[in-house]
């Protein structure tokens, strides 16, 4: 193994190092990499939108509809295209409000589809998993399941907004916060490994793919 002869690899290695230089302090190399990254990534998104959305969802269906004389199909693509074009009214000082139409369609769509899945995954599933369905005083697992129920109940108490957090409610909510803190500590500690793996990946790239120091 020896140092890479591929110019692309050298470019990637250079950019990797410029980002790490930010750890020391902000500098011109980082500023260069940052602006290159932002510009190139927006350019990339545009190319992707051009090929995958503009062609696949607008131009090709319109062409197809025209060829097949499919009036309904044509209208079904034309209408959202016109609604989308309404965004451009923002460029005008007096007609900017027209952009509210595409925004209204987007809001209606997303709020409408978010409700029922939230009921199912955030509420039903969590409630079902928490309810105790059997209890065997001799088995440790049963006691842990009870602890789980206590944890969920007390955590929920913390989220009561229209009741003063004093007395019973206050004490219960406090227990809930304990559960929350333990959970946060656990997730923090658990995530370290995944993050370090990312760094190992980059260092392996530098030492193996670029410098060829390690196998």
């Amino acid at each position: 193994m020896s140092i890479s002869t591929n110019l692309w690899v050298w470019l990637a290695a250079f950019l990797t190092l410029t980002i790490y230089s930010f750890l020391y302090k902000d500098n011109i190399m980082y500023k260069f990499a940052e602006h290159l990254f932002v510009g190139a990534s927006v350019g990339w998104s545009i190319a992707i939108i051009w090929h995958l959305t503009v062609f696949q969802y607008i131009i090709d269906p319109i062409k197809e509809a025209v060829l097949n004389k499919d009036v309904l199909g044509f209208i079904l693509v034309l209408v959202p295209t016109i609604i989308g074009l309404m965004y451009f009214s923002r460029f005008s000082r007096s007609k900017g409000w027209i952009a509210r139409w595409p925004i209204a369609v987007t809001m209606g769509y997303y709020t409408g589809i978010s409700i029922t899945p939230s009921i199912e995954t955030n509420i039903f599933k969590q409630v079902e998993g928490t309810i105790l369905t059997s209890f065997n005083p001799g088995s440790l697992g049963s006691w842990w399941a009870l602890l789980l129920l206590v944890g969920v109940v007390t955590t929920l108490f913390y989220f009561f907004f229209s009741v003063k957090h004093a007395g019973f409610v206050g004490r219960t909510a406090k227990v809930g916060i304990w559960f929350v803190m333990i959970a946060f500590g656990a997730s923090f500690g658990y995530t370290v490994m995944a993050r370090v793996s990312l760094l190992i990946g980059r260092i392996q790239f530098l030492l193996h793919d670029w410098l060829g120091i390690i196998k």
Partner: protein
């Protein structure tokens, strides 16, 4: 059609299953008419059979096609729902079951079924529980909205992170530095983004009143469009429309880490006195919050992303946890109607708590005292879908 098959089954039962072929085809309910269930009587010589092949005759077709097989000779049910051989609601299909012996030869068919068509339903009865919950939530909200109009019970408990907003904006004013507001990295599809925009309004207004500057970088172009209008409007409401600079609210990049690279650079260069991270965040939460710590900004975060909360808690001065983010617009405005909706949420929470505890107690009594698991089945029927 379903009733016909039911009659068919009844008829077969009465006849002892001897007159007609014993292959029964039924519609699978609560779907778009994409599946049929076929059952048949096990033949007498089950011991010589290795598997069954299920053949289907599509309308207009000349030959049966193989749509599946059952590799256990003692199983006599098959659900035909394979995207490779789709079924269509309203057209009739005929099935034939052919057993296969241990030398892989097909033996005599068990007969053919009546022609049955799958039915597309107008309501999915498996989701009736979600529907009831949705209607209940609706009713609770409307009830509390009306109740709120009476002006009673507008109490909301203290939310430290929101109380600190004033102080945080004030600090930026004193230092003559801008306020940085990141409305999350997601699109409008995350309701957390909407919640963040609802908070941004009052915050931007306060910033405008204090004659400070607010910087709002955006990752999603639609969010950018909306946020731009909200901030502009807030400056107008504060009576300082001329102080609004259109570049204060800007679009950066849709690439997650390109956005972070730019925002981190911005923090290092502009040194905002206050950073507000409210909305939906992923791995970038800590990247931004730690950079903000280095620049010494006062930081308030709020997200419903459970995986990122631990990082905001460690790196920010105040953190709105989950539902607190959604209660924020009511808390900040004290608008009776919005407070009413928070009360509705509290009622729903109380009901959920009651259900969890009551169901646990009842099912424990049922299991321990009466030794029956019947109630557990009721519970899973209520909460599954």
């Amino acid at each position: 059609m379903k009733f016909l098959t039911l009659f068919g089954i009844l008829f077969l039962i009465i006849q002892g299953g001897s007159l007609y072929s014993e292959i029964v085809v039924e519609d699978v309910p609560n779907d778009a008419g994409e599946a049929l269930m076929i059952t048949w009587d096990l033949p007498d010589d089950v011991g010589n059979i290795s598997m069954y092949r299920i053949y289907r005759l599509d309308p207009g077709a000349e030959d049966y096609i193989l749509v599946g097989k059952v590799e256990n000779p003692n199983v006599n049910v098959f659900v035909d729902h394979d995207p490779r051989y789709p079924l269509h609601a309203g057209t009739e299909f005929v099935y034939k079951i052919v057993p296969v012996d241990f030398s892989q030869n097909e033996v005599e068919s068990l007969g053919t079924s009546l022609a049955v068509s799958p039915v597309a339903q107008l309501f999915n009865f498996n989701k009736v529980n979600s529907l009831i919950a949705t209607l209940f939530v609706f009713a609770a909200l409307i009830f509390f909205l009306n109740y709120a109009k009476t002006g009673k019970g507008l109490f909301i408990r203290k939310i430290a992170g929101l109380d600190a907003l004033d102080e945080a904006v004030g600090r930026a004013t004193e230092m003559g530095k801008p306020v940085l507001y990141v409305p999350g990295l997601s699109t409008m599809s995350d309701v957390a983004t909407i919640a963040s925009i609802n908070i941004l309004g009052p915050v931007a207004k306060k910033v405008a009143e204090y004659e400070t500057k607010i910087l709002v970088p955006n990752r999603d172009p639609i969010v950018y469009t909306i946020v731009h209008e909200v901030v502009k409007e807030s400056y107008l409401e504060a009576g300082r429309p001329d102080a609004f600079d259109t570049d204060q609210v800007f679009f950066v990049s849709q690439q997650q880490f390109a956005f972070v690279a730019a925002v981190n650079g911005l923090m290092m260069r502009e040194k905002p006195a206050t950073n507000l991270f409210l909305g939906m965040f992923w791995a970038e939460s800590l990247l931004m919050a730690e950079t903000g710590n280095i620049t010494g900004a006062i930081q308030i975060a709020g997200t419903d992303s459970v995986t990122q909360l631990p990082f905001f808690i460690t790196a920010c001065d105040y953190t709105l946890i989950g539902e607190e983010l959604y209660a924020a617009s009511a808390y900040l405005s004290r608008d009776p109607i919005l407070v009413g909706s928070v009360k509705a949420q509290d009622l729903e929470k109380a009901i959920i708590l009651f259900l969890m505890i009551a169901c646990s107690i009842i099912s424990l009594i049922a299991v321990l005292a009466f030794n029956t698991y019947a109630f557990n089945q009721v519970i899973s029927a209520i909460f599954s879908f």
